[in-house]
């Protein structure tokens, strides 16, 4: 009854859609907060530059939101189209947060529409800024609810399975499952971090390209400060995620760390690669570090892959994904510390071209960290779709046409991806900041307002 190729292509299509959606979704979660902070700083200091910053980000945000909505609708439908067996089982226990997510979207969509079309419409600026609060809350709550669903797939609870029947269902217990706190917190923090570094990298790029406007300097400094705060938060919560894994999903952690035998005082394997015979080469071993990461105690015992049956071990390549994510996290924390400290202490190197380029890199790197983080989390759950209850292959559709759909969606995402980049860059190029500030001055002086 199982259809191997349908299973394979369902995985590919899910992977494709989610990996694409997550870029826009992350921006959708983080950027409203950044707009709000910029507008607030502008109003507090009576500094038109920050208000313009908020306004210009908003314009670009509309475009990323549109792509986020479109791809989100796609993944929402694809969950039922590609994983009908999974949805019919899990839907009975975890439908509640999915349902609440739609209210969060609704809320966000309504206020975003209002916010967008009411610049300067109210006499009181604060009123306009307040409209952003529901937008930011709605976006973050969408992330919270969908991440709750995902955490349920990792540590399902809140039901009992008796003779293939689900009984004793407790929706709230299912929502507040063990992996939920760390997962939700890490996803939110990393979304804010990514958005801040993306906006910082735009400002740094403009400065590199010859604009010397104070607007970009203010924008860069603000975003680097925010990026610093959220990258520290991300790393700290990431550490908690590791501890959570050690306790509840030890096979994921063991596979990510190439930790084969259960042992005490385990050492951490950094970098390196694995050859055909599973020999690890060129790796750095840090004594005790894995025990510290997993349990906060250098002597603690860490469960290894030997405790699990052969067919329940996740693919071992997630080690690379884990390393990339952690490296980016550390690196970005460092870059932003240097920048912020540099501004305060007047260090000159932060204005050098090479350092600006590091800052420009920050945005794309953060996106890569988001992608690798999700791949780690999702591939690390394999072979389960619902850990301990349903294998991914059992959840999939049996339809014959998934490969065709995969190709169609590839084309769609290429068009959307290129389209959004082209439209965004054209939009800002057509109306550079120098121009906009001039227009704005003329407007205010002319008394039109």
């Amino acid at each position: 009854m199982m259809n191997e190729s349908a299973v394979f292509w369902s995985r590919m299509l899910t992977e494709l859609t989610l990996s694409f959606h997550i870029i826009y979704a992350t921006i959708g979660v983080g950027v409203p907060l950044m707009i709000m902070i910029a507008q607030w700083v502008g109003m507090k200091n009576n500094d038109e530059h920050y208000i313009l910053l908020a306004r210009r980000i908003t314009r670009g945000f509309v475009i990323t939101v549109a792509v986020g909505v479109v791809t989100g609708t796609a993944i929402g439908l694809q969950l039922s189209l590609l994983w009908p067996n999974f949805m019919r089982l899990a839907g009975q226990v975890i439908a509640l947060p999915l349902f609440m997510e739609t209210f969060a979207f609704f809320f966000e969509a309504i206020f975003l529409g209002i916010y967008l079309y009411t610049w300067d419409r109210f006499d009181n600026q604060t009123k306009h800024m307040l409209l952003l609060i529901p937008v930011a809350i709605g976006a973050s709550m969408s992330a919270v609810f969908i991440t709750v669903v995902n955490s349920f797939m990792n540590t399902p609870q809140g039901f009992e399975l008796v003779n293939g029947e689900l009984v004793n269902i407790q929706p709230l217990v299912a929502m507040f499952n063990p992996s939920m706190p760390t997962k939700v917190a890490h996803v939110l923090a990393s979304a804010y971090m990514t958005s801040a570094f993306l906006l910082a990298s735009i400002a740094a790029f403009r400065l590199l390209k010859g604009s010397n406007h104070i607007y970009y300097k203010k924008s860069l400094f603000l975003m680097m400060k925010l990026g610093l705060i959220f990258s520290i938060a991300t790393a700290v919560i990431g550490d908690f995620s590791g501890k959570f894994l050690a306790e509840y999903q030890p096979e994921k952690l063991a596979a990510a760390e190439w930790h084969f035998e259960t042992e005490e005082a385990a050492s951490l394997i950094l970098l390196g690669f694995m050859d055909q015979e599973e020999n690890i080469k060129l790796a750095i071993r840090i004594p005790y570090a894995l025990s510290i990461l997993a349990h906060g105690n250098p002597m603690a015992e860490v469960i290894g892959l030997n405790e699990f049956p052969e067919d329940e071990i996740p693919p071992l390549y997630i080690h690379y994904l884990f390393n990339i994510m952690v490296f980016i996290g550390m690196f970005m924390t460092l870059v932003s510390i240097l920048y912020v400290a540099g501004v305060w202490r007047g260090w000159q190197f932060i204005k050098k071209v090479w350092f600006r380029w590091l800052t420009v890199l920050g945005g794309p790197l953060s996106i890569i960290a988001i992608e690798t983080g999700w791949w780690l989390a999702e591939v690390g759950r394999q072979p389960w779709i619902l850990r301990g209850y349903m294998r991914t292959a059992q959840g999939a559709t049996t339809s014959e046409h998934v490969d065709m759909m995969f190709i169609l969606f590839c084309i769609l995402y290429i068009v959307l991806g290129i389209g959004s980049i082209v439209v965004l860059s054209r939009m800002y190029r057509a109306n550079p900041i120098e121009q906009e500030i001039q227009d704005r001055m003329a407007e205010v002086e002319g008394g039109v307002r």
Partner: protein, 342 residues
Amino acid sequence: MNLEVLGIIVLWIFLFGYVIVASIDFGAGFFNAYSLLTNKSHILSNIIQRYLSPVWEVTNVFLVFFFVGIVGFFPQTAFYYGTVLLVPVSIAIILLAVRGSYYAFESYGSRGHKGYAFAYGVSGLLIPSSLSVVLTISEGGFVDIIDDLPQLDFWALFTSPLTWSIVLLSIASVLYISAVFLTWYAWKAQDWEAHELMRKYALIWAGPLIFMAVAIIIQMQQHNPDRFRNMISIWPMFGISATLFLMTVWLIWKKRGLGLSVGLLILQFLFAFFAYGISHYPYLLYPHLTIYEGFTNQEMAISLVIAFIAGLCLLIPSLYLLFRLFLFNKEYVTGNQKDFHA
């Protein structure tokens, strides 16, 4: 009333909401593309900018709400429909993507690429067509259960006159609903040229609409006698709907009470939509799945209902605010105001 019925009524109301708001959107896109061909695009593009752009995302959420809700209340639908609908729904998703990106890419980026406006317009007819296939399938006769797995008979589906009648009805409704609404909206915006044009379209599309509706009821007699009997037994609802339809057309013909005509139009579709839904009861997929077999467990149902009520308390005031600012605000609608766009 039991929870099963309550659940399906809530979902049906949201689907109805989607049908109305999306029809306005789809139809406007089509008329816009059509007027591009006849070089009258300036007439409509203004309305699309002023009315549709602020609310399109809200339109989309109605759909999301429906499909997330139906899988929540009736998880079995994910299994039955999810397995058979891969192709038509994937196509609908791609078309929805074309529309969603149009608002963003066109109204902010370059303006007026003809090919894009055209794709946008055509997608407005193709989306209802591909989505209405779901309704056809739910009538039964196209899905067989083989080895415990639902299988769709594509050939039977594509050669059935019922399929094509429902497709045509969906297109006619989209164009009619949208034309009636825009007739009123253009009148409010004091855009007389657009008003005249839309009034003409409204009157033109009234005919095909009623013709297709009657044709479907007649075909049902052949296709599914059970369902036909159900429909006949609640004929008063269809009758009220038809009366409301005649009143709307009359008002538009006489150019009187245009606001009222929109209200009557919504009521007309409400009655027809619910009459259709009631005659479908209790089947979600005839004859394989009823709302009772497909229902989720009691605990989940109760928590979904509570979440729904809490959600409504949040949404209704917000929607009211949105409409007050963009739909019922005279200054905004007539465009006398400065442009407040970010």
